[in-house]
Symmetry: C2
Subunit: 497 residues, 2 copies
């Protein structure tokens, strides 16, 4: 059988056994502006009761986008949404009202502070699901966490949706968490306070993924988005722990050409970076790559040639945003960083990483989510991912804080299993995981690192504090921690007011 | 029911009605080198008879990777493969032997020259499927064209698969065609002649998508990969056509701030760029963006600030590769350029584009695939994509070549339907598509462009040449052209030797 198509050609419908649809019509592409109001965008996205809406957290405690969006959704009388943000901060306290009013009934994502305190005492119908950065990426990619509408804050965007976090008054660093949302959400809305001429000069997310662009006067408060200028701690305890990390790396002969390491933007990490910087310079060593939180300290090491490459993800100060915009090739995304379901992450084979904790137990299990009073006050971040990637995973903690022991028999919540934690670096010595006999062998006879047992650290902590406080948990499961592949690692119980 | 997981926690299996798999084991990530031989990589990929293997064409007529890979596959005695390259060149003549020996029985991708001549005379069991750049991207993304094994040539790669085309002795420009293959193929093999320390300093494709890395002495012949230095034509006929294009854009008042245009690397395009460059400078105008083939001419316009932004895809000379490596933010991929199934392409709303043709007919249909003797000698490239994206699609052709008329009653093969072709710019005047009454209105009374009817151009061409030659077609369909959305646009018949 033949059919005449719209180009006037009479062609067979089947060729070599395969059926072909005839050509119907060629159009010029639609190139209308995608800029509309948030209300209209949410209506066009057909956001419905019970659906899932996502946000990234890169505006941190300066973010105005989550609160504003939820206000508009409340006005639209949409109920029982699942909030799938990458993280909430104290500024998102109004989420509590949206929970009370029934707009939000479910949260899957990190929570830092206020909302976590509320949820710990007032369980939602479903537990808060905590995933690592890489775990969340995989969950969205593999449709374990299906996003109906993704809201992506951008510090600059053009009217077709090309957007960035690198320029503009509300610059926050490269958008690095939302690419997976953009690629997999049914509907994608970019929100910006800086509509620029097309094409936007930087584009971490491109127009191919964007349905609508929404303008806001201000997407956030710059002073709470990034630090004006990060300062290294001068707390002697933290400086001591930082120095111990570098001494440990040195004793293990890691500080040599080709070193790949991760350090965050926390006080101990920044101090450790300064010591490392000095050591690299003294020993005339060039590191291969730095990953993790991007700061002016990393930028400076890269500029000086002490580290050949860097991967830029979250930026924590204005200097690092400027540096990475000028060195665009350094930017990557969270999928490349940590996706456990991919064929390889840049974390794989990391020589060393420094991570924090609220608690560590004698099985080397680490808690970063709950405080010792049981309240859910932090997300997982890249903790699991980095621990699984690094050959030397160091947890940097004091043995106690105020009157609370950090080293204990059992952590309140397991965030990262002890099997992949290699060293607990404390103010009272360094405990090496007994399963790392290779490290223990290498450290025999060294004088720079005070190797102690985890049990002795626990005893010291108990002695100083009188042991962990008793917590009066409720029966409700208010949250769960997932391992990177989606398996259930632990549950978090409610606490009484 | 509760179960004790491997972290020692006894947890319910079901929480709030949802079932959770218990945590089993945390491992450190595997970070072994992915470098193995091509033979081993193909075996591990479990390439089987009848499967599909893909390549990009960015090494052009200097490519050694396709031939080498097919030789290894022949030695492995794998048969009846579907070859899904983005394009073949004369250097791929050995593909003919692989067809004769049964290694290849099907081709989906562009063919330039030798292999096309062979296939035109010796039909394969299945027609060659020709798709535009954007159409191919969509077909792979949407699994119309499923790739079992993607082979990706890289001029530098590290041992985990991060790779680039920007550096090294065989540099060819950013890898921009293969990202979709990397993301969707079952198995991905990077082939390089330049294994660098991890992390590779540029990464158009990252390790998350790569199964294996293969080393070759030489992936291609640099002098046939890119031009040492492109030269602008001094052919007066081509210069005239180029000037007419710029005059037409000028008469339509397109040469003003914010202009977004596309020009290729062909002779007429390069000449037109020179005229445009001059006009921008004279009129103190800044274009918003240049797209399409990247050359030193575009780089120079960008450096001078005559064009604010550019999108870098294929690079055609060594200077442009250097420029784009230093301006990494300009690089994008073919999906962003042209994917018809996405939410927006950067081609959408292009003010003007200049494209070539082998033939044009009086319905403004364009042929770029076959010659007037019927032989399949070219691919579609971005022709359909760019024509659909641009508000002013100009086809630049002489009215005849040697003794063959270019303007005719009917093209041999429809590559791009006349509905979206706006102007035929020839040495004998400019024909405007009658469906563009808006353009005709604007051009009334202008003196810079010689507006003529397409019929008069056809008559002139016939008069000079005696009309098109008769072609003795066979009955076999040796190829098909698809519209961007996969619909059947036209078929290509065999020709007799």
């Amino acid at each position: 059988m033949s059919v005449t198509n719209s180009a006037g050609r009479t062609l067979p419908e089947t060729i070599a056994g395969e059926h072909y649809k005839p050509f119907k019509k060629a159009h010029k592409n639609n190139c209308d502006s995608k800029v509309i109001s948030l209300k209209k965008a949410l209506k066009k996205a057909d956001l419905k009761d019970g659906q899932t809406i996502s946000f990234h957290h890169q505006l941190r405690n300066g973010d105005y986008v989550v609160n504003h969006t939820l206000d508009v959704i409340r006005d639209l009388e949409i109920k029982n949404l699942r909030l799938a943000q990458t993280a909430l901060f104290p500024i998102h306290k109004p989420v509590i009202d949206h929970i009370k009013e029934g707009t939000i009934s479910r949260i899957e994502g990190s929570i830092n502070g206020t909302v976590g305190d509320y949820v710990s005492k007032n369980p939602l119908p479903y537990p808060v699901v905590l995933r690592s950065h890489g775990g969340r990426w995989a969950a969205v990619k593999n449709d374990e966490l299906h996003i109906d509408v993704a809201i992506i804050a951008a510090s600059a965007a053009d009217n077709r949706g090309n957007c960035t976090g690198l320029i503009g008054k509300s610059a926050f660093g490269p958008i690095c968490y939302s690419q997976v949302d953009a690629m997999h959400a049914d509907h994608v809305i970019v929100v910006t306070d800086n509509l620029v001429d097309r094409p936007c000069g930087f584009q971490e997310i491109t127009e191919e993924y964007v349905d609508h662009v929404v303008q806001m006067d201000q997407i956030g408060n710059p002073k709470d988005i990034v630090s004006g200028s990060l300062k290294v701690t001068n707390n002697p305890q933290k400086l001591h722990i930082a120095r111990q990390c570098i001494n440990l790396m040195s004793a293990l002969d890691l500080i040599k050409d080709g070193l790949i390491f991760q350090a965050g933007a926390g006080g101990i990490s920044l101090a450790a970076l300064q010591y490392l910087d000095k050591k690299l310079e003294e020993n005339n060593v060039v590191a291969a790559c730095e990953t993790g939180g991007f700061t002016k300290f990393i930028a400076e090491m890269h500029r000086k040639g002490l580290v050949k490459n860097a991967y830029g993800l979250q930026c924590f100060d204005v200097e690092s945003i400027k540096y990475i915009a000028e060195n665009r090739r350094l930017i990557t995304d969270i999928g490349h960083y940590a996706d456990p379901s991919s064929k390889g992450r840049f974390l794989d084979g990391l020589h060393a990483t420094m991570l924090g904790a609220t608690e560590v137990d004698t099985n080397f299990n680490v808690n970063v989510n709950t405080h010792s009073d049981g309240r859910l006050l932090h997300g997982i971040g890249g903790h699991q991912d980095s621990a699984a990637g690094a050959n030397l995973t160091m947890i940097t903690v004091p043995i106690y804080r105020k009157t609370i022991p950090v080293i204990r028999d059992a952590v309140t919540t397991i965030t990262t299993p002890g099997d992949i934690i290699d060293a607990i670096v404390t103010d009272q010595g360094v405990a090496i995981n007994p399963n790392r006999t290779d490290l223990l062998d290498k450290l025999q006879g060294n004088n720079d690192v005070n190797i102690v047992s985890i049990e002795s650290l626990k005893e010291m902590a108990d002695k100083e504090t009188g042991g962990p406080p008793q917590v009066d948990f409720g029966d409700d499961i208010i949250g769960i921690t997932k391992w990177r592949n989606g398996e259930l690692l632990d549950v978090i119980y409610s606490v009484k007011e």
